[in-house]
Symmetry: C2
Subunit: 233 residues, 2 copies
C-alpha cells in the first residue's frame, strides 16, 4: 500500500470565518443594547454561584438572562431558574462552548432585549480561551482553593480576559492562597486585568462586581451611541 | 466560486493507531515492572499535593517517579523535586498530555526500573479523558471545594477512571459537599469505581490510598506473571 501525505490548508480560512461570525454576532448584540459577559473558570470555581448572587443583588432592576454550558445534565440551569431566564446548552462531551450553540440558545430565550446576557462556559481553564462567543467582556474566575499559582500555569485564559474574579474568599483563612499573589501573577500576563474578590454565599464583593458590570456596559453603549451619532451625520 | 465538500476518512485510522501505540507502551511498562498511574482532575484539585504526600509516606520504600504536565511553567516539577525523580512536560498551551510527550519524558528520567510511575495530567476535567497515556490505572481527583455535583457534569472522566479520590477533606466543615453524594454520583456513571478521601496536608487517608496502589500493582503483576507462565508452557 502506498501512503501519500497531503497538506490541507483549511485552518486559516476556518479561523477567519469564525472570527467574522463572532464579530457580526457581537455587533447584533450591541445594536440591541445587550452587554454580553463570558464567564470562564475551572469546574467548581463558582460561576453559577456568582450569577445567583448577581441576580439576587440586582433583583428586577436589570434585565438579565443566562446561557449556561455543560457537557451533560441541566443542573446549573435548574439552580439559576428561580432568578432569571436561563437556557442550558449541553455540549454532549465537548470541552468548550461554540458560537453556534450560543445562537441556538438565544432562539430559545423568551426575549431579545436583555441589558446583560451572561454566558457560563464549560468548566475548563484551557479550551474556552480559544473560542470567541461574541462577548463584550471575558471574565476569568479563580477560586481561593485552586492555588494562587494558577494564572501562570494557564496563561491564555488570563491573557484573553479583561477581568479576574477571585471567588470563595470565605475560605481564605483555611487555604494557602494570597489574593495579591494571584492577581500579580495574572497581571504578569495581562497588565490591564480588572480584579475583584467575592464570596457569593455571604455577598462580600458582589456590590463592587455589579458596579463594574454597569460601568463596562455604560462605557460600551456610551461609545456605541456616539459612533451611531457620527454615522448619521 | 464553486465550493466542493469532501469527507476525509482519517479519524478512525488515527484512533486505531493511537490505541495500538498506547497498548504497546503499556506492555513495555508491564514488562519492566512499572505500574503507571494517570492522575486527572480540575486545576488545583491537589494532584501535586497528593503526589507529595504519597512520596513522603513511602519514603525510600518504593521506587517511584513522576512526569508532570502543564501548559506552561515548571512550578509543579519544582514542588516534587525534593522527593522524587520528576520531569516537567510542558504542552505549550495544549489541553491534555499525549503519549508522545510521555515517551519523551521517559527518556529524560534517570532510570527505567521504577515500581510506580505517576503521570500528573493537565488540570482539565474534560480533554484528558480521551487520551490513553499507556497507564494501568486512571484516577480522578475531585476536591471538596468543587461541589459534589461534578461527576454527572463531567461524565467521561469518571467513566474512564478506575478510582475517585476526594481531596481537601480538611475543608469539609466549611463547604457544602457530601463525600457520599459525590461518590454515589460518580458510581452512577462507573459502578466499579474505588473511592478514597484524603487530606494531603494532614496525611488523612494517605495510608489507605497507598495500600490501594500497592494492591493494584500486585494484582497486575500477579496476573501478568501468571499470563507469562501460561505463555511459556
Amino acid at each position: 500500500m502506498t501512503t501519500t501525505t497531503r497538506t490541507i490548508p483549511v485552518n486559516r480560512d476556518v479561523q477567519a470565518h469564525r472570527k467574522q461570525q463572532a464579530a457580526e454576532q457581537r455587533d447584533a448584540f450591541t445594536r440591541r443594547g445587550t452587554f454580553v459577559v463570558n464567564l470562564v473558570s475551572s469546574p467548581g470555581a463558582g460561576k453559577t454561584s456568582l450569577l445567583e448572587a448577581t441576580a439576587r443583588y440586582w433583583g428586577n432592576s436589570r434585565r438579565m438572562a443566562v446561557l449556561v454550558g455543560d457537557l451533560a445534565t441541566e443542573r446549573d440551569a435548574e439552580r439559576l431558574r428561580p432568578y432569571v431566564p436561563v437556557e442550558q446548552l449541553t455540549t454532549g462531551g465537548a470541552c468548550h462552548l461554540e458560537l453556534s450553540l450560543i445562537q441556538q440558545g438565544l432562539q430559545r430565550l423568551p426575549n431579545d432585549d436583555y441589558e446583560f446576557l451572561f454566558i457560563e462556559n464549560i468548566g475548563n481553564l484551557v479550551c474556552p480561551a480559544s473560542h470567541d462567543l461574541a462577548e463584550h467582556l471575558r471574565v476569568a474566575l479563580l477560586s481561593t482553593t485552586e492555588g494562587d499559582d494558577k494564572p501562570g500555569k494557564y496563561p491564555k485564559m488570563f491573557r484573553t480576559s479583561q477581568a479576574i474574579v477571585v471567588s470563595k474568599t470565605d475560605l481564605l483563612p483555611h487555604v494557602p492562597f494570597s489574593v495579591d499573589a494571584a492577581v500579580a501573577d495574572a497581571r504578569q500576563i495581562q497588565p490591564d486585568l480588572a480584579a475583584f474578590s467575592v464570596c457569593a454565599s455571604t455577598g462580600e464583593g458582589i456590590a463592587d462586581w455589579c458596579r463594574y458590570l454597569d460601568h463596562e456596559r455604560e462605557r460600551l453603549f456610551g461609545s456605541h451611541m456616539a459612533e451611531q451619532k457620527v454615522d448619521r451625520t
